[in-house]
Symmetry: C2
Subunit: 518 residues, 2 copies
């Protein structure tokens, strides 16, 4: 993709501050795109904030060029990864053994592991596993001549964000690109004509792929909700009294800025499926929740819970006291379908990802053919087990010599906290072998860059960027029957090159959408 | 409708400030409705603001009870009022003569009148008149025993606001009422059950009437756009060269807070009809506009304008210099379809409304049968012409004796500036007969009150309220053929009883939607 920024606006702070009043039509492409995108985002609820006023979600003003074949490959990986997580989460012996090596220095994972073991020992009352996952990829292209490939950054199995806002982003970019490319836009039409990927999309809108992330996630929740009710009521006759009011429970953080994304799923679930959803933080689940009868039906405030959809509980910060762990335990022991169960949660830890990168381990869960498909996107992943012997020492030495070729990641979930470069070198030097065991080393991906204009808090920014493509996957199965297994849309996040951390809400990355090129 | 407010939250400032954090499910109906409505408004773009961050539009948390028969009557009046405005605007002799009596003390109307006369003298090049009107009604019920009736407050023929946000409000209330009434909402379901109108809507959603205000206004603009192109290209052969890029022009204020409503129409026009729209303040129209050829085609920045949709130009404040008047003149002289033309604009002045309240004058434009239908909603309206003789002195005396039975309204458009009670009495005492002539006296409407919870800037309020129902009407015709004449949705605004001024953006009124009762 050509450089879509005029040099001045990308770098000149004065240009960033420059504002036209709202009514006057801007004469500059960047200011024109800024104003139009700001209003499109507001009109369509692409917003962050909890108690108002609301800010537009950080976003790119144009879609970001992405290779069509790699996009298709990423989409096609959703189904096998869904299957893999389901199998791993059901093989709790293997799972618990695998995760145990990291828990000495990772209190959060230790608690999850103990909960998993406790529930397995007691006997699981709900065979259905609902997965709403997102597999995140970066494009790796170390040199311009190298063929680009996608490498998996992580496989998220809990609280995947942006299924609603990402669908809205795609709709927004499809609308703005088409409008700006029309000959009545005297500023943008000639500008877009110079951007090959966007220009091609004007005559072929499949290059801006539709995005079913919101509707797909809502449909998965609705299907699980209906299956739960069918299972509960199986064999009952109508005469046995009215069914209790039943709803999906969304577990949320007590303070959350990304509320409109969560509400988007709640609203779609109601609008498209007439399935009610109640929101609650863990502490309130404990205060109002009970397990009912031998089936251990979960009731909160008198409402029976069909599905617990976690949009919290993925970071130690979500468990400031034992009350939250008690709530998590109450949920896990119940008949409600957990999305995810603690086993599915553990199946998404980086330790599991690293162990499955070993062909012998992956063979436990996938045929040779399936394994080859999955491995096509595996980056080099290296565990730092205490008893790893010379293999571990060798990779640590290698990383200290060439720290820019690696990322040091903590095992636990939640984003951030990754170490790069000199920090990585220093950390590896300072840690004891026991401390190292709660981290993994990952081959550092070398993504190509492409320039795109960005907007944060209404301010223009831009420059060479890299992107991360997430593909949502939805799965429902009971270990015998698979009721749902498919991709469910995508998320493209973009950040300025050189920014190591991610996170849209944290202000590092912005939402975007792909414009595909052959 | 029962009082839907707990007394404390309506009046106790502490209660208004009370906040729960976002994640915790509120236990009070009011706080529950507040949070849910805040997020629904944000997720659906029911917002005010121009450059971000965006505030939710002031709104009621529940729909407002309105008599079904009066709602139907108001809807049915849209078509005859559309016809009336079209006929009045085409009878420029009568129109100019009627308006002339008020212009001595109303500079703004004088300029409009002069423009109208100038364009008529030159010859009108565009016979098509597009109307996007809104007739506003209040319910009059002086005593509890009296049968309620609707009385017209004003007939707006220029820049009618909220066609987009009002449609979104209806969708929001339909969703929230249905969701809150479901048995899984343990707070709201028992609460709604006690509100007869809302409770009835749970089993009969036609009581929350669908609202086509956004799509109807967009469709009217699209039809006019297509008619313009057909007219321009009539008789042309394909070989005569590509048609110039053609768009609708929205004239906007340089500073405007209600941008998201305007953008909603722009987006619907593009999404549903692929018709492009450009936004511009009057000053920029002058800077970039030219009239092309003997047809006087309007071009701005190289784009031919099919329809000029005024969302500005209704108040003297929009004409701070001669540049704005020059722009208005340029538009009026052009072949573009004006929405409204200056004649349609003048047809909506209060002077015309007052004169048409006289049966002999109305007979000029409506058959006996049509006139009876129209007059069914006329309030008492009294012109204060200088040469009005004893009739004027008599009504002035009556108003000074009983000022609470009247409203003193300036002739000019734009809302606000009405005088009530003691202010009215004082003004009538102080004005010369010549000054009085730019005002009209209107019978004061005595609306019933009903309590509804409101939200402004995220803060709860509420108490006994009155409402004003607006019905949008869309019309397209060329004086011989009528191509479109129908109602296009509605707007229900609510304000606390005792607040004399209106205006949602000014903070006096809030957006709502009707819940009908038999």
């Amino acid at each position: 993709m050509a450089d879509v920024l005029s040099a001045s606006a990308a770098t000149d702070p004065e240009a960033k501050r420059r504002r036209t009043t709202v009514g006057s039509a801007p004469t500059e492409p960047l200011e024109h795109m800024r104003t139009e995108t700001l209003h499109l985002a507001a009109a369509n609820g692409i917003l962050l904030g909890a108690d108002g006023p609301f800010s537009h979600a950080p976003c790119s003003l144009l879609p970001y060029a992405f290779p069509a074949s790699l996009f298709s490959q990423a989409e096609s990986l959703a189904t096998p990864f869904n299957t893999l997580v389901d199998r791993v989460a059901r093989d709790t012996d293997w799972l618990c053994k695998t995760v145990r090596s990291v828990v000495e220095h990772d209190e959060f994972t230790r608690r999850l592991l103990e909960l998993c073991e406790e529930v397995v020992a007691e006997g699981v009352v709900q065979p259905l596993q609902l997965g709403i996952y997102r597999s995140d990829y970066m494009v790796d292209q170390p040199t311009e001549d190298a063929a680009p490939r996608i490498l998996q950054v992580e496989l998220n199995t809990v609280s995947v964000s942006f299924p609603s806002l990402s669908a809205k982003m795609t709709r927004m970019h499809r609308q703005s690109v088409a409008r700006w490319g029309s000959p009545t836009d005297r500023i943008m039409a000639p500008y877009l004509a110079k951007l090959p990927a966007c220009a091609a999309a004007l005559t072929d809108d499949t290059r801006l792929p539709l995005n079913a992330s919101e509707s797909g996630v809502a449909a998965a929740l609705a299907l699980a909700h209906r299956e739960y009710i069918a299972q509960r009521d199986a064999g009952k006759r109508g005469a046995e009294g009215a069914a209790p009011p039943t709803a999906v429970l969304m577990v949320v953080q007590p303070t959350e800025r990304n509320v409109i994304d969560q509400r988007g799923i709640e609203h779609a679930l109601w609008r498209e499926h007439a399935v009610p959803l109640v929101r609650m933080p863990l502490k309130q689940v404990l205060a109002s929740g009970v397990l009912d009868g031998p089936q251990r039906r979960l009731r909160v405030d008198g409402v029976e819970v069909s599905v617990v959809y976690f949009r919290a509980g993925y970071t130690p910060n979500d468990f400031p006291s034992e009350a939250e762990w008690s709530a998590r335990t109450l949920i896990e022991r119940s008949m409600a379908i957990k999305c995810p169960s603690v086993a599915q949660h553990l199946a998404g830890t980086k330790k599991v990802q690293q162990v499955l990168a070993q062909p012998a381990q992956l063979a436990r869960f996938a045929s040779d053919e399936q394994a080859a498909v999955l491995r096509s996107c595996f980056a080099g992943l290296y565990g730092l087990d205490e008893d790893g012997g010379e293999a571990v020492e060798a990779i640590v030495r290698k990383a200290r010599v060439a720290p820019d070729d690696f990322v040091l990641k903590p095992q636990r979930e939640g984003g951030g906290n990754n170490l790069y470069g000199e920090e990585l070198r220093a950390a590896l030097g300072a840690m004891s072998p026991a401390e190292r065991a709660s981290f993994i080393l990952m081959e550092r991906i070398r993504p190509p860059t492409s320039s795109v204009p960005l907007m944060r808090d209404g301010e223009l920014d831009g420059g060479p960027c890299t992107c991360e493509l997430g593909v949502y996957g939805v799965f429902l199965g009971d270990g015998r029957r698979v009721l749902l297994n498919q991709p469910a849309g995508h998320l493209l996040r973009v950040k300025l090159d050189g920014v190591n951390e991610g996170g849209v809400c944290a202000g590092f990355a912005v939402l975007s959408s792909p414009v595909l090129y052959p």
